[in-house]
Symmetry: C2
Subunit: 154 residues, 2 copies
DNA sequence: TTGTTTGCAAACCTTTTGCACGTTA
DNA sequence: TAACGTGCAAAAGGTTTGCAAACAA
């Protein structure tokens, strides 16, 4: 049994939040207000979210942040490999926490309604590592996106 | 022997070009000038290309086309599944001919120089189909992007 | 002729950047 | 205080759309 379900594995990551804060501090970054809000929003999301969505969610919880700070924080976190960037094909970048243990999932994107679900598959990971070893390329990361119709749109 | 090399499989597709033209005609579309130029440019490309690149290449070969017509044609072709859309992660959509026999490849993207190479792997295709069968989602297409550093940037 | 396609320009959206002000350590 | 972070507004792409002229069938 190599495959898990498509259910989300977590809807909030206090562990990741602490990890991210520590990594930033260790790197010499300061703990500004906008930065904290973005990290908290990322930690609280179930799957990937765009910069605009994170900005909106911060506003919805009473926070106030410039959109530029959201983009700058995402850029900073991504540069430190604290978040993963996902392109679901609609021209908008989405992000989600990158777990320190390397655990990650891939995405099912509905072409009709645009919803995104997560899935994980060990056999898929194994094959990708095999491919990564044989190509003349140093592979640091990989993305797999399955497109089609979700349960409700099907 | 399940895996092929990372070399490009074709640098021009007259077969695809005829196929695309026939599909458009069968569907009632007219053969306008811009449309022909975009189809010819797609047929002649080795791997995926963005709308802007296709537009530039048409200009380079003496053609003249409005960028809007390039986007409209790409949209039309994509809607008929005559081309595949690839997102390499830089926020620009890229396209390449979709072969009628379903043959396709995936991409290696260099995070340093942005170059894109193609690769194919049968085991990867098999695993993806297995995953597609088990998830609660109708999977119509899939994309795999491996990121890292190409030979020259490594 | 008649509906389709095209080109231009303007509009849209996401993302980036310059710069002055506010904040952290 | 000295460097860093933030917000605003403007700029920079890429992509889409309205519309009148050009064109294919």
């Amino acid at each position: 049994m190599t495959a898990s379900s498509t259910h989300h594995h977590h809807s909030a990551s206090p562990i990741w939040e602490a990890h991210a804060r520590a990594a930033l501090a260790a790197q010499g970054s300061r703990a500004g207000g906008a930065r904290q809000l973005v990290i908290a929003a990322l930690a609280g999301q179930a799957c990937c979210a765009s910069a605009q969505e994170i900005h909106a969610q911060i506003a919805a919880t009473g926070g106030a942040t410039g959109i530029a700070s959201v983009y700058r924080t995402l850029d900073l976190l991504h540069g430190l490999s604290l978040i993963t960037r996902i392109d679901t094909g609609d021209g908008v970048a989405r992000f989600e926490p990158a777990h320190p243990d390397g655990a990650h999932h891939h995405h099912l994107v509905c072409d009709t309604c645009g919803s995104v679900e997560a899935f994980h598959d060990d056999a898929l990971e194994t094959v990708i590592h095999t491919v990564a070893d044989r190509v003349d390329f140093r592979v640091d990361a990989h993305d797999v996106v399955l497109r089609g119709a979700c349960r409700s749109c099907r």
